[in-house]
Assembly symmetry: C2
Homo-oligomer: 197 residues x 2
């Protein structure tokens, strides 16, 4: 890759990151190009579609979440690991408003640039879930896809301005549904006598 091309590419990624943080993943590609002092065509050659751009932007985050799952697998109890990882996943999406719809689309579209990352993420969650199920801490009638769907749904809640204030609370509700009663007293303050409404 030519030096000027590489410079433009990096610059575009940086600008795209801030633009998406401000306006969500649906931000106009033209805006990103404008803010990067670059033609729209240049942006679109480096990243042929919006998904390709997001893939380049989010890949490191995905990898971090996957790695985190691996660490938790050995460092925490099964139920703590599962719930804590779920919280990380849902929390992470708040930085990228609107990303959930793209992820839900990408996980079944093998052509999507985000497909591989989503599948890996689902697999990491499935391992944590299986571990918790093996010790009887999580209900046995859900699988990795269910977990992925629940993460997506909770993340979507956080994306909706009108529902976001409840997102944290509803996370606890859903988490308590995943864990069996044997594991419902988890470490992250799940036991919550006072309601904070």
């Amino acid at each position: 890759m030519r030096a000027d091309a590489r410079k433009n590419r990096d610059h575009l990624l940086a600008v795209a990151g801030t633009a998406i943080a401000e306006q969500g993943v649906d931000v106009s590609l033209r805006d990103i190009a404008r803010r990067a002092d670059v033609g729209l065509a240049t942006l679109l050659r480096h990243f042929p579609t919006r998904e390709a751009l997001l893939d380049a932007l989010l890949r490191t985050s995905f990898d971090e979440l996957t790695a985190k799952a691996g660490e938790l697998e050995t460092s925490s109890s099964p139920e703590d690991a599962l719930v804590s990882w779920l919280r990380d996943c849902v929390g992470w999406t708040t930085e990228y408003r609107g990303v959930t719809v793209l992820m839900a689309t990408a996980i079944e579209d093998t052509e999507s640039a985000l497909h591989a990352s989503c599948v890996t993420l689902r697999a990491a969650g499935a391992r944590l879930l299986a571990r918790a199920q093996a010790t009887g801490m999580a209900r046995s009638d859900i699988d990795g896809t269910d977990l992925f769907a629940l993460i997506a749904a909770l993340a979507w809640l956080g994306d909706q301005p009108s529902l976001a204030p409840r997102a944290d609370h509803l996370f606890d509700v859903v988490a308590s549904a995943i864990l069996t009663s044997a594991g419902s007293g988890d470490a992250q303050g799940e036991r919550r006598p006072p309601d904070r409404r």
Copy 2:
């Protein structure tokens, strides 16, 4: 209203209904106008925004769901009424792919044409929930807004092609989280819930 205007309005509503059933609520307004053999401007005068069109189209469904809640309040046990109504709500949205985002937006936007319908729906759910909570059948740390959010999230799951196959199962998971474990035993004495208004 002039006779020709009324005819066009009714025809537009019918065409919009089938178009939305086929392509979801994001269908192009130009398409609807074309299929109705009508100018785009005509569609937009009768229904100034997409939300106004959907409001006219969905209002009867909303009313039916609200009425259903009222019936269930007297015809079924608190927990059956709540769960059955939730199922109806989530199931209904499958006919209008994409409507959940609009509802989530509308419920806090008092200017939205759908606002009133959404608020009414939330209130109906809140009554069913309060009734179940009064008899100890539902966990006490959620309210009508939480319920609305959970309905929206489950409906959103059903909207995503990749996650829809799990939607029914995940409904059960979430429903079990709303109901207390006491839901298994019988209800016995029913304290009459605080009368509506």
